[in-house]
Symmetry: C2
Subunit: 338 residues, 2 copies
């Protein structure tokens, strides 16, 4: 399968390394490998029909800060002209207008190419448009990496829980907020120093509002609402309260009742919401630290929980690889049918 | 798909009801339905090539305690003569000689029929023989319901984590033990009254040794070791310590260190083990109550946790239905290929 990698930051580099490490697994179980025929960072690119060496791309990026030639046209324009089977879109999330990822995905789906993305922006703002475009052009749009990093919540709901009616999904959808709340609870420190600790450890940005105001969680809740509950909403439709208002008194009061405060994203057939909630200690949602966790209520199974690392170079690459595997498997079964 | 249901206790009745409820989902997504062509309880049976009404079977069993005519031959003999596509084997676990389930599964696989089972015995004692028989006769042997009830740990590892190298699985594999340990911890009550409470609530048998001595956990650990780590072991190869020796002092001492005592099954490429361990509060494995939970370490994703209800009529049926879906999907893709 010929892929075009777009976005070559932490996630893109992790995916290139994962392709190098796991191509033999793909070949063993599916009889096909991934060939990288194009790779783009924000200003440069490399193209080779016979395949680019993934580890060579990573080395080049580390040594020179670029992949190859300086780009003159937009990536979207180039994607329209290029020859490839699958776009792997890994540019950063932008929840203002979802660009440039939105244009990249439109360009690929528009010419009937499968798309795998880790980018929340296009899915949190234009989900239905993109899903419809994929359906019309009979191609795959997959985005496991966009929600919960390595946590296979979307593929679990779509592939393993097919016979279940999913009633709700509640989750810890942001590791930074959960780290802050966990530290307030276990160390008895106030909100501000817990936030500074998260910043020092690299979990939270200098401007932490995207995490602590619940915007990141709201993006994930919107994606799940669209992908799993079949809704048609954007991040702006998600009712949202962050953790800025949580003080140590609230955390301590909860602990006296054997409860913990957690920022919970909730998705039902009626919509999505993000807000701090009290969770009994020992409940799956009471988990500490930076993990992401999703608690799914269904009619037969009752409740199923899945948790994993919400971010990281190889963790996010893991979810992209799972989608690459599925797309290759689907392409193979279509090939056999034809 | 024509199925023969064998075993019509709680699980068998739950599966019959689930088939009645979910046949429209199967038809919608796969274009085929389940038709029950035979059903067996321990002494009676009903057979109808044109299909038995699943809810009628459940009613008959509830009203008369039997499904139909009294059986003269063994179920295994009858399964050899019967015409069906897939055996759903749900007789109770027997870890002495795995019978009668073992003979049922051998009979079906022996004539190239797919098998779905919730029965731990044959898998904990004769895994490799049965897996080899299935492979030789090109049929499916699936057993999601045998480990962790509704928790989709096997299908997750096999379908969703294909690109991952699984290094270890640690899990809370017995809900009864976890209930007892959770109650000792949250209520400060000693082991004996916590066990009696579990018995009164119907979680533990009058003879609780199968649960509290870790035998049930060891069966599940052996199945996971065989199915996911590719080993060839039985329940007897699992090093095993139960929770009989755990007193309230140990639980309280752990709590002072912000830890909890949990009975953990652990599976690696070197083998399987069941023993009480100290787990930090807030860690995925620190979960309270009767859930089953599996914490999977892998090379790319790092760690993935999946949890769910370990037992129950509809919960176990949920896992059987997931396997029914997969087998129907595979049969369809083979049909399309031919």
């Amino acid at each position: 399968m010929d892929v075009a990698l777009v976005g070559f930051g932490t996630v893109g580099q992790g995916v290139a390394e994962a392709i190098a490490t796991k191509n033999h697994v793909l070949e063993q179980s599916l009889g096909d490998k991934v060939r990288i025929v194009a790779a783009f960072d924000s200003s440069t690119y490399a193209v080779d029909k016979s395949g680019l060496d993934p580890l060579d791309l990573v080395k080049r990026k580390a040594a020179k800060g670029k992949l190859g030639k300086v780009r003159k046209d937009s990536i979207a324009e180039m994607l329209k002209a290029l020859d490839y089977d699958t776009l792997v879109e890994m540019t950063p999330t932008n929840i203002k207008d979802a660009q440039p990822g939105l244009s990249h995905i439109r360009a690929a789906l528009g010419k009937g190419r499968d798309v795998i993305t880790s980018n929340k922006g296009p899915l949190a703002l234009k989900f239905r448009e993109l899903a419809n475009l994929a359906e019309k052009n009979e191609c795959e749009l997959r985005f496991e990496a966009s929600v919960g990093g390595a946590t296979p919540v979307i593929n679990m709901a779509r592939e393993l829980l097919v016979c279940e009616r999913i009633c709700s999904i509640r989750g810890i959808m942001n590791g930074t907020c959960n780290f802050i709340l966990s530290r307030m609870e276990s160390e008895g420190i106030p909100y501000e120093p817990a936030l500074r600790e998260a910043q020092q450890m690299g979990f939270a940005e200098a401007d932490p509002s995207y995490d602590i105001d619940g915007i990141d969680s709201a993006c994930k809740a919107a994606i799940l609402a669209n992908a799993i509950m079949g809704l048609d909403i954007t991040v702006h439709d998600v009712e949202r309260t962050g953790i800025r208002g949580i003080n140590l008194d609230a955390v301590n009061l909860a602990m006296q009742e054997r409860k913990v405060v957690r920022l919970i994203g909730e998705v039902t057939s009626r919509g999505a919401e993000v807000s701090p909630r009290l969770i009994p200690r020992g409940h799956p949602l009471s988990i500490s630290g930076t993990l992401n966790l999703f608690h799914i209520r269904t009619d037969l199974a009752g409740e199923i929980t899945v948790a994993g690392r919400g971010a990281g170079r190889y963790e996010t690459a893991s979810a992209v690889m799972a989608d690459i595997y599925t797309v290759m498997k689907l392409r193979r079964s279509i090939g056999q049918r034809d």
